[in-house]
């Protein structure tokens, strides 16, 4: 078979898999939106709307909060979109085998799952961003360079956490899924510089360096770079290097684990 035909058939299968996943996601749109939007919006309402009006929190805090809220919503939704179905599929339903029969390599099926995670993250961002902005009225930087940063950071962070979700989804047994949330996700969120810029951590130096192992830090700092460049944020090269590095690492590891789970 000529190469172009193989590529065509592979793309056909890839697009069909994507079509299937988006059809299913669209059917669950309401619960999906509630899942991704409710938590960040309640958080925004209390910390970005109620408490500043009480004077408990300074008004300027919302500028620091908005990029973090957006980063959290996008990264968590792409991670969940990939990891939860995989845990269930490999754990007991074995439904993944239905997709593995498609005429495409196993890595191809894996990359398709990551893309679905990215798409869901973009939808989550598109819902949370305007609502959070309406509640907090943060002054956003609207220059074209910020727009470019915004698109790049959004895509890279979503990809990073979709790939991270694949690693989690392939190594965590279904019985321990709740442990994943308490032991890994909670510290990741609280130590992820979502609610405070990384630079302000200089008051506790050991902590400031310890949180650097957390990939979420770079996603949130990236959104600060893009949305509120006037506020303290990590340097641009450091953000991109870390986002690309972690993405490559988790994509490689996730696809390897995915293949190992898919084959005997």
């Amino acid at each position: 078979m000529p190469l172009w035909q193989i590529i065509l058939l592979t793309m056909t299968a890839f697009i069909a898999l994507l079509h299937r996943d988006l059809r299913v996601a669209r059917r669950e749109l309401v619960s999906f939106l509630l899942r991704v939007a409710l938590n960040p919006l309640m958080f925004t309402f209390i910390f970005g709307f109620v408490m500043p009006r009480m004077g408990i929190i300074q008004r300027g805090y919302t500028d620091m909060l908005l990029p973090g809220i957006l980063g959290l919503s996008m990264t968590l939704s792409s991670m969940q979109a990939v990891s939860l179905p995989l845990v269930i599929d490999f754990g007991w339903s074995k439904e993944i085998e239905d997709r593995l029969l498609a005429p495409i390599s196993i890595a191809g099926v894996g990359i398709e799952k990551i893309i679905v995670g990215v798409v869901q993250a973009i939808i989550a961002g598109a819902v949370v961003m305007p609502l959070a902005w309406l509640l907090m009225r943060v002054h956003l930087d609207l220059s074209w360079i910020s727009a470019v940063h915004f698109v790049l950071v959004a895509l890279l962070s979503s990809w990073l956490f979709a790939a991270f979700g694949m690693v989690m989804g392939t190594i965590v047994p279904p019985q321990q899924i709740s442990l994943l949330f308490t032991l890994l996700l909670a510290p990741m969120i609280f130590f992820g510089c979502a609610y405070y810029p990384w630079a302000t951590l200089h008051v506790i130096p050991w902590f400031q360096y310890a949180v650097l192992v957390n990939p979420l830090v770079y996603a949130n700092e990236g959104f600060r770079l893009a949305l509120t460049p006037g506020m303290p944020h990590m340097s641009m090269p450091a953000i991109y290097a870390a986002l690309i590095g972690f993405s490559a690492l988790f994509t490689w590891l996730g696809l390897r684990k995915f293949e190992a789970r898919a084959l005997d």
């Binding site: 078979m1 056909t12 299937r20 593995l100 498609a102 005429p103 390599s105």
Partner: protein, 320 residues
């Protein structure tokens, strides 16, 4: 005939994940071939290596040694090309639970690039033929075992594969669904589809398969048509006679001296004659009865079951 599947010295060893545990030799060097249009059976008890064999042929399992080729394509080297040629009906229910029955068929065909109009037509045809039309727009959660099985076969046929693989398709089905499944599979084979099926039911292989390979502990024990396999069992044919009175000893001796007879057993007024072949045996037995003035009230000839064959080949019964 054109060879469609060639399996040569196939081996699979499952290594334990941790340091503890033992290696399991699921396949210990099996070889077989079969041609286009055949209905081929892999017969053996649970754990014999059937599912591993089908797993390797359908690219789900990586062989530890040997080679398997489908239409000349090596399954380990080019799994994607193999996937395009095969339809798979696995043992577990791996139907897409997020989709309706019809969507399952449509999306499967879409993965394989079947044009929209064609796949709509094909899905409607298969749903109708497999008696699933009235449940086409339901998700599969409430489907019975027989319906799930039929839908899995319909899905496997959506992209017109060259070979259909079925892993224990009737396990857990009620007798009526099993019979329906058999008719369906025979019809598909008669229309020219090459089929490989695994089963641990002797009568299933007997009913369906043109040739069957008997495997146990990862080794191939015998490969032939079910009829030939049966003939290979010594004393496999049984003639059972019901006698009006008690069975007289001279009659037993006369039966024992008949050609091909291996053993004669009596039990009250019943005689069981075990023989290597059945031709003329019943007539000879009736003649011996007439000579000895023994009144036969009932006679019955039983062919050797593949069950007996298995016992003969392995020394243990099939459902152990």
């Amino acid at each position: 005939m054109e060879t469609v599947i060639a399996v040569e010295d196939l081996k699979k060893t499952y290594r334990p994940k941790g340091r503890k545990g033992v290696e399991v030799k699921a396949l210990d060097g099996i070889s077989f071939e079969f041609s286009r249009g055949e209905f081929f059976g892999l017969l053996g008890p649970n754990g014999a290596g059937k599912t591993t064999t089908i797993g390797i042929l359908t690219t789900r399992v990586i062989p530890s040694g040997g080679a398997a080729k489908i239409e000349g394509v090596d399954v380990a080297r080019d799994p994607v090309a193999v996937k395009r040629r095969i339809g798979v009906v696995p043992q577990v229910n791996n139907l897409d639970r997020s989709l309706t029955a019809k969507e399952i068929l449509l999306f499967h065909a879409e993965y394989f690039g079947v044009p929209r109009h064609e796949r709509e037509q094909q899905a409607d045809d298969l749903l109708k033929r497999f008696e699933l039309s009235d449940r086409a727009d339901e998700k599969v959660n409430g489907f019975s075992g027989g319906m799930v099985q039929r839908l899995k076969i319909a899905r496997a046929l959506m992209h017109n594969p060259a070979i259909l693989f079925l892993d224990e398709p009737t396990t857990g089905l009620d007798p009526q669904s099993r019979r329906m499944m058999w008719e369906l599979l025979m019809e598909l084979n008669q229309k020219g589809l090459t089929i490989l099926l695994t089963t641990h039911y002797m009568e299933e292989a007997d009913q369906l398969c043109g040739r069957a390979a008997i495997i146990d502990h990862g080794k191939l024990l015998a490969l032939d048509s079910p009829a030939q396999l049966k003939r290979s069992v010594p004393g496999g044919y049984l003639v059972e006679l019901q006698v009006r009175s008690d069975v007289p000893q001279p009659f037993v001796s006369a039966l024992q001296s008949l050609p091909g007879v291996v053993d004669v057993k009596t039990e009250n007024n019943r005689v069981r004659v075990y023989a290597d072949h059945a031709e003329g045996l019943l007539a000879s037995a009736m003649r011996a009865a007439a000579d000895q003035d023994v009144m036969i009230t009932d006679a019955h000839v039983a062919e050797p079951s593949l069950e007996n064959l298995f016992l003969h080949l392995t020394g243990r019964s099939l459902r152990e």
